[in-house]
């Protein structure tokens, strides 16, 4: 018992001595910090848009941690965001007021979301005119693949129909909204092509000159394009082929 008490006593002394050596390191000093810079400030409108719909406007229903980079070059880290695909807007949960704020889109260069247990999602604020289209497009595009050619996705959520719901004696029509992502390929010469369908033929049409080599590449990998993951893989194969040419 005495030995145990002595050990605890010694431990306490060692701990206090060690703590004293660190005190100068952590002592509050009126003269620090000596380097000064401001955190970036996010601007935007208090978000009040409500829609009773069948389906979610958001890529993720819950708030997700993320960072945002501004066109000024500054960035703001570790904030809570939701990407609204229906409006193509980044919604920020104000950390003081706890109100949603629609971020000033034109001041944002890119943002990154870190959904729990999932991959990091990087979105860029891009503006371009797709080939063979008359109008320019401007939206937050998620980067799926980056190389000499890039693949981006516009995570739009569109109205696809209506759902009828009985509420008491009345029949209420609600809009049905669903994700309908659109994929774009950005070529080295900055030409942008929409990938209209998730199949190999869409890609052959875009890369008509390299069709044969690409077909061979897909065959070698046994690749069929049925979903987004396959598309990403296919673009990777095409990128490698183009690099060799």
């Amino acid at each position: 018992m005495f030995i145990i008490a002595k050990k605890s006593y010694l431990t306490a002394i060692v701990f206090i001595l060690c703590l004293m050596t660190t005190l100068p390191a952590f002592s509050a000093n009126k003269h620090e910090p000596l380097l000064l810079d401001f955190e970036a400030r996010l601007s935007g409108e208090v978000f009040t848009f409500h829609m009773q719909a069948d389906g979610s406007q958001y890529l993720f229903e819950n708030w997700v941690k993320g960072d945002v980079s501004f066109i000024s070059g500054k960035s703001l880290k570790d904030q809570s965001f939701r990407y609204n695909g229906y409006l193509d807007e980044l919604i920020w949960l104000h950390p003081s007021f706890y109100k949603p704020v629609k971020a000033d889109k034109y001041q944002i260069e890119s943002f990154t979301l870190y959904p729990p247990g999932g991959d990091t999602l990087i979105f860029e604020n891009i503006s371009f005119k797709p080939r063979f289209e008359s109008d320019s497009l401007h939206f937050f595009a998620q980067k799926l693949y980056t190389g000499d050619i890039s693949l981006v996705a516009y995570r739009q959520i569109k109205r696809t129909g209506e759902t009828l719901e009985s509420i008491g004696p009345r029949l209420v029509a609600r809009p049905k909204i669903e994700p309908e992502p659109v994929y774009y390929l950005i070529l080295p010469d900055d030409q942008v092509h929409e990938v209209r369908r998730l199949n190999r033929r869409s890609l052959y049409r875009i890369f008509s000159d390299e069709r044969r080599a690409i077909r061979e590449g897909f065959r070698r990998e046994g690749l069929r394009i049925n979903n987004e993951r396959d598309l990403i893989k296919a673009v990777g194969i095409i990128d490698e082929i183009l690099e060799k040419i």
Partner: protein, 777 residues
């Protein structure tokens, strides 16, 4: 339990090591003191000329942490700051020019250079040098000669090496002559009580000299100084004691101990740096003389204290020694005699380490030097080390040791007691210290209650600048009421307006902006002998400048690249929801009419003379609760009554951002931007009352030195005289190891000696310096 103990011990050791290895995580005390050295092209100017300068920032050699990238330079007269500059110190170096206005009166002026970080160590840490400026029209120069010539006071001090003057032993004595009497380069005679001359020696230009002598016991000695008219008594020699002598050659220290005592004893010779022992040896002191050799590489550089003690720690003798470690060298080759308008070719020959470069300034000028100015960066750098090692204030170090060569310094240190003098100007603002401007210039201020003088804590301070787009920065005051704004290049040469957000504080308020050029250390503008004994030279310089003005000659040109990168402004919003340009509509008399006719979403109502407004939200179509915030030419204001009179004649553009807007932690129930044709914002002080404004002086491009060439008989202008006293000025020349650097320029029409000075710093923070005289005949 044992594991926990080990863990706690290791954690604390790791944290403490981390603080030392990464001082950025620590506090102010972990950052070494910065120093600045300024080289001006000359020490004497005539009002109407340009002063060219170069400036270096340096720290301790091993330091690799954040450093100031902005510095300040001021030209002061006794009463005021005459000129002030903000300088870019991105490479640890800057250069520029300063125009000395024609109207400056004759007298001594002071150049002061500093960084914001240096303010933490008080004004005594600033670089200071004096320059003499003569007004072109003041030919009498009455101000430079004192009405009453000061008494030629003279004091002689004796400093025996090791502190002891021992009879019968060889002693080395330093003699220092101080006072108004000009003792430079004079002969001194050591005479005995019979007036027989035993020795003579010559003092150096600063009035110091040394000699060896073996005094006899019970004999009185005196010193006579040539021209002084009186003699001075030597200190009394002692029969018993120890003489300690130190000398150094390239690789070795030699310590000689002469004993004049009966009983032998155990002795300890200790060498200390900054009170910490760096070498020691114990031995038996039993013979009349003991010699000890120490390899120089075993000792650190800087001020070392050699201390001899005997048993029982009895102090016997001590002396200081400045140990100069290997320093880079440069020399200059080329002939020394030239004709008028002849091309001069000189070559800089560096002795640098393979991976070491140097950045130097080269000047060729008439040799006029003000006494007591910092001589060169090598001496300055050395004085900083001495001040640090001796624990004395820098200006004490400079005053005592400033211009001495290392040999002269070690003579002087022979008798220096080393008593630590801690006189430091500690007068500083009460506050939290000064930030290091490593990435951006910082503007600081204080908010207080003007009635109670109490600081306003944790209030939001807003910064705007007049612009055609809405910009806004904000911060909070600290417990001292202070606030600081780091500014990007966007604010270059802009007016800054500060106000307090009424949502954070509504009581009486006042904002004061810190003036970086507000000095409290006095400046002694009394010209000394080096000025008034050169009246003829000054008159000649005045005539030269008059001739140059008459011939419209200026040896300066604009720099090639005059562009600055401008950063993006801190925008409140990217694009307003509604923009209205009044030129597109019929003229309207006031804001109420304008809103009624042109901006239906903005509704202005009045109760008598009191006007208020609401916005209709661009998203919901409902009225936004609370009043919008107004910006007049980019400056925030809250009082619509002061703006209501503005009509189409004054207003160029209206921006209506009718949203519930958030900017960081600030909320705006709508934003109205009013942009006027005629800077109506200048009346805004009357509107807000608590506003402060300042002009943000940022870095700028300076004119460069430009001299004529005489390549052919037709180049240059034979009709114009070339009376340059500054033949060449190159502020930034890179010297690479094993590469000789050529310097070429032409002499002018003014004959006589010119001093070629090459000085600067290496990439390792070591000073380099070399001088050579050339003659134009």
């Amino acid at each position: 339990m044992k594991k926990i103990q080990i863990f706690v011990l290791l954690s604390s050791l790791l944290i403490t090591w981390h603080q030392k290895a990464y001082p950025a995580m620590g506090g102010q005390n972990h950052y070494p003191e910065e120093k600045i050295f300024v080289h001006t092209d000359r020490d004497l100017y005539v009002a109407g000329e340009k002063m060219f300068f170069s400036l270096w920032r340096f720290n301790q050699h091993e330091y690799r942490g954040p450093q100031s990238n902005f510095g300040y330079l001021a030209l002061r007269s006794q009463g005021e700051v005459v000129e002030q500059l903000t300088l870019d110190l991105g490479k640890g170096f800057s250069s520029g020019s300063l125009y000395l206005h024609d109207t400056l009166s004759t007298g001594l002026y002071e150049i002061v250079a500093f960084t914001n970080w240096m303010k933490n160590h008080g004004e005594t840490s600033f670089f200071r040098k004096k320059v003499f400026i003569a007004n072109r029209f003041d030919k009498d120069l009455q101000n430079i000669v004192p009405e009453v010539m000061p008494d030629e006071t003279l004091e002689i001090s004796f400093f025996p090496e090791g502190e002891n003057f021992i009879a019968g032993k060889e002693n080395r004595i330093l003699v220092a002559a101080t006072g108004e009497f000009d003792s430079s380069n004079r002969l001194v005679y050591i005479v005995d009580q019979h007036q027989d001359t035993l020795k003579q020696t010559r003092l150096n230009q600063y009035g110091f000299g040394s000699f060896n002598m073996v005094p006899e016991a019970s004999t009185a000695y005196h010193l006579k100084l040539d021209g002084a008219g009186k003699q001075f008594n030597f200190p009394q020699s002692h029969e018993k004691g120890v003489v300690l002598s130190v000398s150094e050659n390239k690789n070795q220290f030699s310590v000689r101990i002469d004993l004049a005592e009966d009983s032998p004893s155990r002795a300890l010779l200790k060498i200390k740096k900054q009170d910490r022992p760096v070498w020691e040896k114990a031995f038996l002191l039993d013979t009349a003389q003991v010699s000890i050799s120490i390899p120089a590489k075993d000792l650190p550089g800087g001020i070392l204290l050699f201390e001899l003690t005997t048993e029982g720690n009895h102090h016997k003798a001590s002396r200081y020694w400045f140990h100069q470690q290997d320093s880079p060298k440069i020399t200059l080759s080329g002939k020394t005699q030239y004709n008028k308008r002849e091309k001069v070719n000189l070559e800089i020959l560096p002795e640098l380490k393979p991976d070491e470069h140097a950045f130097v300034t080269v000047s060729v000028k008439k040799p006029f030097h003000l006494k007591k100015n910092p001589a060169n960066p090598a001496f300055y750098h050395r004085n900083v080390i001495i001040a640090n090692d001796l624990g004395i204030d820098y200006h004490h170090s400079e005053k005592r040791f400033g211009h001495l060569t290392n040999e002269e310094l070690n003579q002087y240190l022979a008798g220096f007691s080393g008593k630590r003098e801690k006189e430091v100007w500690t007068k500083r603002r009460n506050g939290s210290g000064f930030y290091m401007e490593d990435k951006k210039l910082i503007v600081s201020g204080m908010a207080k209650n003007p009635e109670t003088k109490e600081p306003l804590q944790d209030v939001r301070v807003i910064l705007n600048t007049p612009d055609s787009l809405l910009n806004l920065l904000y911060t909070h005051t600290d417990e001292n009421g202070e606030f600081h704004f780091p500014l990007t290049d966007y604010y270059r040469s802009k007016e800054l307006f500060f106000s307090i957000d009424p949502k954070s504080y509504e009581g009486p308020k006042k904002i004061e902006i810190v003036d970086k050029f507000d000095f409290y250390l006095p400046f002694d503008a009394k010209p000394d002998r080096s000025v008034w004994s050169n009246k003829q030279y000054i008159n000649q310089s005045q005539d030269i400048v008059t001739v140059q003005k008459n011939f419209d000659v200026e040896y300066a040109r604009k720099p090639d690249n005059q562009f600055f990168r401008i950063s993006r402004p801190p925008m409140l919003y990217y694009k307003p929801n509604i923009t209205v340009r009044t030129e597109n509509y019929i003229p309207l008399d006031n804001l109420q009419e304008i809103t009624r006719e042109l901006v239906p979403v903005w509704r202005i109502r009045s109760s008598g003379d009191d006007f208020h407004s609401r916005l209709i939200c661009g998203t919901t179509g409902n009225a936004i609760p609370d009043r919008p915030v107004y910006f007049l030419d980019g400056i925030i204001t809250y009082d619509l009554n002061r703006l209501i009179h503005l009509g189409s004649e004054e207003i160029e553009k209206l921006e209506i951002h009718n949203f519930n807007w958030v900017h960081g932690e600030m909320t705006f129930p709508g934003i109205i931007g009013i942009f006027t044709k005629s800077e109506e914002y200048r009346n805004i002080n009357a509107i807000n009352g608590a506003l402060a404004s300042t002009f943000h002086q940022s870095t700028k491009h300076h004119k460069l030195f430009s001299a004529p060439t005489y390549e052919t008989k037709t180049s240059g202008d034979p009709e114009k005289p070339d009376l340059r006293q500054l033949l060449f000025w190159q502020p930034e020349l890179r010297i690479n190891p094993e590469e000789n650097q050529k310097i070429e320029f032409y002499t002018g029409d003014l004959t006589g000696d010119y001093l070629v000075t090459v000085q600067g710093m290496t990439t390792e923070g070591k000073p380099v310096h070399f001088k050579k005289t050339i003659t134009v005949k």
